[in-house]
Point group: C2
Chain length 103, copies 2
């Protein structure tokens, strides 16, 4: 079944919008990649610095390959200084539901 | 934009599979509901009791209405005793990405 990650990022104070814009801009690289089933950027209503990204890929290998794109690496190096620390990545097994690539 | 929730549940020890089955079974009620854009049930690889459900709905009102279905309420009352406590619900604003109903 698909490979999924729940990523929690914490932006430095006042920089969340900037980080979200970077994440959305860099995520456009996945738009034409059929291996990317879901890339959803959300922000908690009651926390002004946190951001979550839900990633769903057809396989772990396709996800790893996508991360190697030079344009993406440029975005990552631009974004990291605006974060409080490295993202928390929760690797999860997909069990099912209603979603692209699932069921 | 769409209404989203990140739900974290913790099953009582040894009961995660049972809870996941309940969540998948009850989630079938959303399959024909176009207001349900995403209902994704996943379990962390490194935690044997936790479950996450990512919910994405066209509006908060449609989500609230779906929760009123009598069949769903039956599932909820069956599932709750297998949980360590009430689910943690992180209400989030959708910022964008690649996902049904987004972009």
């Amino acid at each position: 079944m698909a490979f999924a990650l729940l990523n929690r990022l914490v932006a430095k104070s006042g920089r969340r919008d900037l980080v979200v814009r970077d994440l959305l801009e860099s995520g456009k690289l996945f738009n034409d990649n059929p291996a990317c089933l879901l890339y959803l950027v959300v922000e908690p209503v009651d926390d002004s610095d946190a951001i979550w990204v839900v990633d769903l890929w057809s396989t772990e290998e396709e996800h790893a390959a996508a991360l190697q794109a030079p344009e993406l690496r440029r975005y990552v190096s631009e974004t990291v200084p605006h974060l409080e620390g490295p993202p928390d990545q929760i690797e999860v097994r997909v069990r099912g539901g209603k979603s692209p690539g699932v069921g």
